[in-house]
């Protein structure tokens, strides 16, 4: 059974600081997605990571994928208040030709001014 674990679950950080969110998964997959969710809102796609060593950056966020370690990271550089949200990773898995997604439990990030 595919499991996806994120840590930390909650993260409170000061503006200007750096931090990393980790996403570990339990089976072979080379497609991993990061989403952002604002309170009371839907999920918005942030990054699509498709292969080992993939790195994507958008503003103060950078995501990477290590398929051998079954690990993805979301790094936050010089955090600002607008980054406060819940971040989810999702792993795409194939079973008998059907594709499904398993989501991590999410990391609730709060950036303090």
């Amino acid at each position: 059974e595919l499991k996806v674990e994120q840590n930390p679950l909650f993260l409170s950080m000061q503006e200007g600081k750096n931090y990393t969110i980790y996403c570990n998964y339990s089976t072979t997959s080379d497609r991993l997605y990061w989403y952002r969710q604002d309170p009371g809102k839907s999920l918005e796609s942030l990054f699509v990571l498709l292969s080992n060593g993939a790195v994507k950056q958008e503003g103060r966020l950078m995501a990477s994928l290590d398929t051998k370690a079954r690990l993805s990271t979301l790094h936050i550089t010089a955090a600002v208040h607008d980054l406060s949200a819940t971040y989810f990773c999702a792993v795409e898995a194939s079973t008998s030709g059907t594709y499904k997604y398993i989501f991590g439990t999410g990391t609730r990030l709060k950036v303090l001014a």
């Binding site: 999920l43 795409e92 059907t98 499904k100 997604y101």
Partner: protein, 116 residues
């Protein structure tokens, strides 16, 4: 281009009542999904569909039924609602898995359901 839409946005039910949640997408996606989101548990897959006329069970299918009579619509039904089904329900859609580099999911705005 509306993307993925969900109806209704909010609903309050009494235990034992039934209802149907409607999801519609205008992106010609093959795959559609229903998730529920509960505090501290992320998103859990209820049912999904890989094409018109097909449905399959996800992680937490009990108490729910689905239908995909048209490619653009995916319905989620609760036959006899229970308080444990109080949750936020999200619909999503994506292109089919095979032959594509990736299959990014697009999410609807969600339906907040309370069962008393």
């Amino acid at each position: 281009n509306a993307g993925v839409t969900q109806t209704p946005k909010f609903r309050v039910l009494k235990t034992g009542q039934s209802m149907t949640l409607l999801c519609a997408q205008d992106m010609n996606h093959e795959y559609m999904y229903w998730y529920r989101q509960d505090p501290g548990m992320g998103l859990r897959l209820i049912h999904y569909s890989v094409g018109e006329g097909t449905t399959a069970k996800g992680e937490v299918p009990d108490g729910y039924n689905v239908s995909r009579l048209k490619k653009q619509n995916f319905l989620l039904g609760l036959e006899s609602a229970a308080p444990s089904q109080t949750s936020v329900y999200f619909c999503a859609s994506s292109y089919s898995g095979s032959g594509r580099a990736y299959n990014e999911q697009f999410f609807g705005p969600g339906t907040r359901l309370t069962v008393l």
